[in-house]
Amino acid sequence: MSAESLILFFIVGAFLVGVAVLFSSYVPPKSSNPQKFEPYECGIPTEGLTWLQFNVGYYMFSIIYLVFDVETIFLFPWAEVMKETGMRGFIEIVIFFFILGVGLLYAWKKGALKWE
């Protein structure tokens, strides 16, 4: 049942957008004017290329995010059984956190968490 309902929710979401967009692209009145298709930005005609090179900071944060995301994923099964495993689970996670804390500290000291 669960996998079917996933596909169901997918289809219903797509249906909602699809029907509304289809309606909107045929029913409302239309007019054509070359000015209409200019990028809006702030109201002044746009200058130069849009797709420029971006700040390295975004890349930096997405890489650190990925590392921590992997870590979080491994924490989920641990959290599920923490109550039963008791002391053993606690010690294992303290070691795990210690090593990752070193990583976070390294990123901090290296200035990777600073926006520039």
């Binding site: 669960s2 079917e4 309902s5 996933l6 169901l8 929710f9 997918f10 289809i11 219903v12 979401g13 797509a14 249906f15 909602l16 957008v17 699809g18 509304a20 967009v21 309606f23 909107s24 692209s25 409302p28 009145p29 209409k36 298709f37 200019e38 990028p39 809006y40 930005e41 746009t46 849009t50 797709w51 971006f54 700040n55 900071g57 975004y58 944060f61 997405s62 650190i64 995010y65 921590f68 995301d69 979080t72 924490l75 989920f76 959290a79 599920e80 059984v81 923490m82 109550k83 039963e84 008791g86 606690f90 996670i93 956190f97 990752l100 976070l104 901090w108 968490l113 600073k114 926006w115």
Partner: protein, 362 residues
């Protein structure tokens, strides 16, 4: 317990039985799925319309204004009128835009919020998807919507949307970590991720009371991080209207713009629902151990009402944030996440693990 008198399982079960008795199994399944789909579609649209109205009323209340009051009594039909207006607007795009990605982006954000909403428990027996990884499922599905935002900004062929999309991408992925980790704190306490079991485990006290200090810290962290993850003020740099016009959906018009707007509100509803379910007991009425009379009275209030009251409470907090605090700058925003929320979260999880280990929770 008293609240089981409002259990939806027998009702849904008998509908299921009846459908299978009238028609062949394949048709019964199709009819059932269509009914579920329709129900969620209507629910989704209604909640979206109501939240936009609520936002404007709350905003009006805080700024000492009336808010919408012309269309219908107290302006309750205002958002429906807005919706019809947006539906009747011509769809225009920018020239030289990447047409394919430009058109796909609204689908991605809407489908992501739709798939997340299916896993929320509204009442006993009233949830569509009940995985054993419930919380992780919602986190993973809602983590996809950032791609819709990035594609929308990039494909518009306009500079402001691109800047807005990049900012919001960096913001969403950063704060997703804190959302996951603060929910993890409660999973440690609950020992399960399945939504139905999480709610049942709060029968004799909500987790925010059971886990006391670390649970309260986790709740505060969750509300801050989820406000940021849904791109709402004071973290709405992505659409800082004074600098970026409207952020990543500047170049969208008519109903496509409305879908980004709707998805934003539905994401707020989803994070508020998770907060209500995980920290505040979901549909479970307020029970205080040993106060039997009180518990019996509380059980008479239907779980659906409990659920919506708690969700509305969290939504109200999130809305208050938006109209109270000034907008953050991007470096402050990232510093807040990486240098404050994340380390606090990690320590808080260890703290909660220690409390679970020593049995100091209730």
């Amino acid at each position: 317990m008293g609240y089981s008198r409002y259990d939806f399982t027998p009702l849904l079960h008998s509908i299921d039985q009846w459908l299978y008795s009238v028609m062949s199994p394949a048709w019964a399944l199709i009819v059932e799925l269509t009914l579920i789909g329709l129900a969620f579609l209507i629910f989704y649209a209604l909640v979206g319309l109501f939240l936009v109205y609520a936002e404007r009323k709350v905003c009006g209340f805080i700024q000492n204004r009336v808010g919408p009051n012309r269309v219908g009594k107290y302006g309750i039909f205002q958002t429906i009128a807005d919706f019809i207006k947006l539906l009747m607007k011509e769809l225009i795009g920018t020239k030289d835009a990447d047409k394919l990605l430009y058109n796909i982006a609204p689908y991605i954000v809407i489908i992501c919020s739709f798939m997340a909403i299916g896993a929320i428990p509204f009442a006993q027996g009233l949830l569509a998807i009940d995985f054993d990884i419930g919380i992780l499922y919602i986190i993973s599905v809602s983590s996809l919507s950032v791609i819709g935002v990035l594609l929308a900004g990039w494909s518009s062929n306009s500079k402001y949307p691109l800047i807005g999309a990049m900012r919001s991408g960096a913001q969403i992925i950063s704060y997703e970590l804190s959302v996951g980790l603060s929910l993890l704190t409660i999973i440690v306490l609950a020992g399960t991720m399945q939504f139905s079991k999480i709610v049942m485990a709060q029968e004799n006290g909500w987790f925010i009371f059971k886990g006391h200090i670390p649970a309260i810290i986790a709740f505060i962290l969750y509300v801050i991080a989820s406000t940021a993850e849904t791109n709402r003020g004071p973290f709405d740099l992505a659409e800082a209207e004074s600098e970026l016009t409207a952020g990543y959906h500047t170049e969208y018009s008519g109903i496509k713009f409305a879908f980004f707007y709707l998805a934003e509100y539905m994401n707020m509803f989803i994070v508020a629902s998770i907060a209500a379910t995980v920290f505040l007991g979901g549909w479970m009425p307020l029970h205080i151990p040993a106060w039997n009379g009180f518990n019996v009275v509380m059980d008479y209030i239907p779980p659906v009402i409990w659920y919506f009251m708690k969700t509305a409470f969290v939504i109200y907090i999130i809305m208050l944030f938006k109209w109270t605090f000034p907008r953050l700058r991007i470096d402050h925003l990232l510093t807040l996440e990486w240098k404050y929320l994340l380390p606090i979260n990690l320590v808080n999880i260890l703290f909660m693990a220690l409390i679970v280990l020593l049995g100091w929770h209730f």
